[in-house]
Amino acid sequence: MADLSKAKQKLLIVGNGMAAGRFLDELIKRGISGFEVTVIGDERQGSYNRIMLSPVLAGETDVPAIIGKPSSWYRDQGIRFVSGVQVKAIERAQKCVLTTEGNRLRYDHLVLAVGSRPAKIPAENQQLDNIYSFRTLRDVDRLLNKARFHEMHGRKTDTDALVIGGGLLGLEAAYGLALKGLRVTLVHRSGWLLNRQLDPIAAGYLKRALEAKNIEFMLSDEVARFTGTHELKAAEFKSGKHLSCKLCVIATGITPNKELGLAAGLKGERGVAVNAFMATSDESISALGECVEFKGDTFGLVEPIWQQCTTLAERLCNNIKLPFENNPVPTKLKVSGVNLFSAGEFLTTDEHRELVYQDDKAGIYRKLLLRDNRIVGAVLIGDARDGQDYFSMLTEKKDVTEIAPFLLMGRAFYQTNEQPDSSDETEAA
């Protein structure tokens, strides 16, 4: 633990992704005069909003708009920013890190925010050109170039782009490419899209909505191998199907970058293990973001990570122990015109009471799962309003017995209905 009473403590942050960016904000909010802060990042840019990569790909926003912290920002804050540099090892005994360039940087306290990398798939020939992941601005840049090139040459093959992975990221990538005018096919290993967030019926509505946006789907299938000499020409699937394609995006999930920490002897399995205060097994080293493991869970969504940043900043700046809680987090999808919300449990079992609203024509499906008359899960597609409200009821464990028949119609109805005899109806109107 840093001793703030003496000289300035060297606080070294490895990684400059979204977690690091947010953590810096939390530190500055609390005052960093007691620290000498250094940030090392392997990307050239300052911290940017990775969530916005799909809108960038889709052309709905541009690169400058998503860069939260340009280089000048670090200067202005008196923070040393080391960009385009990767850390190779932590030398805990000496309290320093070794960069790939062979430099050593000392620290009094080290924060690992090294994030994650795209998960690998078992397909053969992944080394071919035009096979991308969808993780960084560089990925997006290359995809945009390829798409632009493609636009100039017109389309002749069955499909232009193959996207692998029917999770949030894969869907967003597919949507972005489709919006660029490419013919996109998305292949997904599971029988339905977003199988970690949606039930099969909701996924069916989603599929229909995306098909309307010119995306084709291959479900329950996987790429066995890519073919081509240098450049990607086609993909062969486990089902035996064959699809020619010019580019491929692999978005099958993420793998925590745990190696740096674990190689230094920090505890951990799926990621670098932390306790509720973001401390690793070494008291001089903390960790947060997608590289950590907390009680066996890893993280891929921003909400819990924001909380981790708060917890760690409180501890380092104020010595306040505010425990991090891994609460359920709602899922949203950033595809224009496709409203989706999922929180908590999403697969109906015999133990649930299930309330379902279906409007086939309008493409609206809303499902609430109740246990003991309390919401334990919400899946909304087509109309995701009220998602937050359901989510609050879920976290508050509100008894919804009385309002159950009106719940799915939205706030206006169940809130009106809660006080049917209220005298200020005119106000409501």
């Binding site: 299930e354 379902v356 279906q358 086939d360 609206i364 009106f406």
Partner: protein, 884 residues
Amino acid sequence: MNLPEKLIASDTVNTTCCYCGVGCGVTAAVADNQVVAVAGDNQHPANKGRLCIKGSSLHETQSSPDRLLSPMLHGKPVDWDTALDYGAAKFRDIIEQHGPDAVAFYLSGQLLTEDYYVANKLMKGFVGTANIDTNSRLCMASAVVAHKRAFGSDAVPGCYEDLEQTDVLIMVGSNTAYAHPVVYQRIAKAKEERPDMKIVVLDPRRTATCEIADIHLPLRPGTDAYFFNGLLTYLADHNGIDQDFVDTHTNGFDDSLAAARGQVPDITAAAHLCQLERADVEKVYQLFAQNDKVVTVFSQGVNQSSSGVDKGNALINCHLASGKIGKPGATPFSITGQPNAMGGREVGGLANQLAAHMGFDKPEDIHRVEQFWQAPNMARKEGLKAVDMFRAIEEGKIKAVWIMATNPAVTMPEAGRVRKALEKCDLVMVSDCIGNTDTAKLADLVLPATTWSEKHGTVTNSERCISLQKGFLNAPGEARHDWEIICQFAQKLGYGEHFSYSHQVDIFREHAALSGLDNNHSRGFNISALEEIDKKDYENFAPLRWPVTDQSPEGTDRLFTDGRFYTPDGRARFIPIEARLPVNTPAADQVILNTGRIRDQWHTMSRTGTAAKLLGHVDEPYIDIHPEDIERFGLIEGDLAVLANQGQRYFGRVKKSADQREGEVFVPMHWNGKYAASSCADALVNAVVDPICGQPEFKHSPVRISPFKQAWNGFLVCADDITPACEYWAKITLDGGYKFRLADGECPDNWASWVKNQFPHIDDWVDVCDSGQQFFRAAGFTGGRLQVVFSAATDKTSAREMRWLEQQLGQEIDANTRFAILAGIPGGGVEDEGAMVCSCYQVGQNTIAKAIKGGCASVEALGEKLKCGTNCGSCIPELKALLR
């Protein structure tokens, strides 16, 4: 009354209302062969400009979706010749093989006098049977015989003015407020102008009529004759007898008094027998004895009884004994149910009458009519009265029946049995304007008849007033007038030359001529002064009360003013009465079923049921029941209960009502298979009849009552008329569609498919399912317009109705509003106006309650603020109740 604007702007016609026996004059505005507005006829003596809610909605019940447009033989349209050939051939065959008594006509007080006349003539003079009866049997038969026994003729002595001019008005078994609203309004106004006028209501129920009563006597059902026997004794003991009148103008007083005294010797006995407070009885007896001007109005509460004739005579005895008859403001007054019940009696349209107040009991009458008609096959004995007629059909003795303008499968006692009898009958012919009444559905041959505003002819109301029901619209499709159909049928039977009328006036003249033939004051009905009425005068017939003779060409307001009656010796007859209780008494686990009208419906709803406005007041079959009985039978107010009797069930919503006596329930008589799954009250009524007149005891049937154990309930609002696949449903007409209330003892496997299967043409659905089965909701659309809303729930709270929702039917609904449709409430939380009270101005109970809270302390104040009660006034009793 101010005429609606439309009425001033368009062509207007004066006619007569087709509903109750009040017989109000109606001014109708006509445009493009449509009635566009109606108002009360200011000149008509019956209503002087007033109309009730049913009457003022006449233009809204014009176009029925079920209007019959062509003859239908075994469900297929055929031309008239084919239809009538078929019917006539069957009739001929059956008569040849089994004799004329194997065929029958069953008619209706809805028919016009001219229709009635030719039907009666055909059967009794040419077919050769008196098997012709009418639904007036269910309504007026007791009064007819009581009149004949006492006065020598079926004649109501007074007129409506007597009800206004009297000092004491006693209403017996008559809920005038609902059944004769305009007469009730006249009485209420008279009472307002002369608050000293006393009004007494004798009725086991505290009805809406009691709102204006000084005294209500909730007597034990069926004890009316005890009450009047007691009165006769009282009059004798308290100087209440007009000895001069008795001596000069009556016979048989002593025997009648002895019979009365023997049974009811004093007030205490009367109070005991009728289960009333002695002081109340005494008060009413005093009022009767001490006032010269007393009118006793009696209606179905007296008539629909196994001793209805005796009840009528018991009360007439009191009027004769005290000389309170034939004077302004002093008369017994039988008030009829139907628009032309009296007209039917005039032509002899009942099995025990002949024609023009002649009967089978006098051979000279039979001979006279035979001669007059030149009848080849004159009937010489009475035919079968309604209940016996349908029994004979059941037994196969009657093999062909022609039913006109009535719905016996709903209205007869043991209606379920009547239904089965008709199913078996060789030939069932039905003439009606509606093609799918419960009865028409059982018919082999259905003939399309004209209806109000198309048909043309005369009717006679309760006060002997003949008026013209005018035909001023062209009939749609193939519809024909009833008299034309009957005459064409007569022609097919080979009697064409005797039925070759070219116009209604020809029939009317013949009828008038017969009424005067050898009359010499022997028969009350005499309109001989009209036997040569010219066509123009007939077309502009001004209302007239019969007799209309050379001596009284302007008609006669009151009969017996000179103390002369229609008996051979000119004296009225006292009838000794041995009062009797109803035949069937309830077992320990039974209640007494009483049936009757509600305010806004008429008979089996085939007309009034098509107007949303008229279903606003009472929209569902119900059961009025005393709070103690609710406890006793484990019922819950607002839930469904089931009445059961003779294998039939009546479903109704439980209404807690301290207006009922304990052990007695009241249900409306109107619902039938077109409007509810199983809520036909008359199916439960015992077929017990008065031995003299054959009128059934509709007011007293023991039935079992139990709560309906529903697994789910709900409602369905839809544009199409369907028959929901559900144990209980009740249909409520809306503007632009229907609402069904639903309940069932079992949940369907899947509510979504349950509702969708019933609307196979709809494929755009939105629904909310609950795996917990607490509720289900769905809405269906065609072209974005709302066609169906269904809401089901296994508890009572979830399926809530809202008028807003009903108003969305047929509207284009955007995706967002679909949520509101399923919620059943508008997004902004608009206040619902609640149950309809004022049907005219569509003012609901919540709105009224709010106005009362806001300071409206009287009916007038409410009227000023909300207009409620200011048109037809039928809701005023309810407004008063809300104000209390």
